[in-house]
Symmetry: C2
Subunit: 161 residues, 2 copies
């Protein structure tokens, strides 16, 4: 499997990783969720070279995860804001953070805590069933082939015949 053609592969995890499966990219998105918008601030916080940061930001813009808009005219300067598609990566970042908080805090407790304004408690995220709302236990979830796999198999068959 090559990453260049992974978007063709019938797996949503692999497809998602073909865009965001790079740790620098995920750190950029983390900073976006914390409110960072400008190139220099991303660079200062992440410590990535200008070249590599440009590369990652361009890819995120190309895939419509960040939107690049000018905030200044002379000289022109841009800022990067999360699109709807980008905002929907929030659960990925929050579940990574929760795992890091639990397994990699070095005994110090979490570096960041999260206040839920609706219930006023410090919270972490659980994953819940979209249908019944119950917290998910991995043992209670059965993966099944979906329509995307059928369509893929038929395309492969057509190519071979």
């Amino acid at each position: 499997m090559k990453w260049d053609n992974i978007q063709e592969f019938p797996c949503s995890v692999a497809r998602a990783l073909s865009i965001v499966g790079d740790r620098w990219t995920l750190l950029i998105l983390r900073d976006s969720f914390m409110g960072t918008k400008r190139f220099d601030k991303f660079q200062k916080q992440i410590g990535l070279s200008r070249h590599r940061l440009t590369d990652r930001l361009n890819k995120l813009v190309e895939h419509e995860i960040l939107r690049k808009t000018p905030y200044q005219e002379k000289p022109v300067r841009y800022e990067y804001k999360l699109t709807r598609k980008g905002v929907e990566l929030y659960p990925v970042l929050m579940t990574l953070a929760k795992w890091g908080d639990k397994w990699m805090d070095g005994g110090d407790g979490p570096p960041m805590e999260y206040l839920h304004t609706q219930c006023k408690h410090k919270m972490s995220v659980d994953i819940c069933c979209s249908e019944c709302g119950e917290t998910i236990n991995p043992k209670e979830v059965i993966p099944q082939f979906g329509p995307g796999l059928k369509a893929y198999s038929e395309r492969v068959k057509a190519l071979k015949s």
Copy 2:
């Protein structure tokens, strides 16, 4: 920032990514959750070279995300099973899958679907508040400095003085 010392950095997302922020690693974990345990099967499914796959599996064993146990004596052969720490990465994989299903299905629908045995519905995962159980809207979550950041700042200050 270098990945070699990122575990020292006071950010749970960065710390988590220092271990699982590699797309091959996340694909290995995806296959673990689908029941794959043996080297040859991982290799067949992911298409990674033996050298690279060994490297990733060893790292996951070293960090106690997978446990390596012999399943055969002569010649000795091993299988790799998720530990508790590994199982708790399930939300990361499921939120990635959901995002890929929505934004990268190419119009074919999801390659895999998930049946929740508790409510008998096809489901996807939402993230919910650990305290009140409500579905999370990113705008309703306020990040705040936690004890891990304070401890880190104090260590840095002590090193400088």
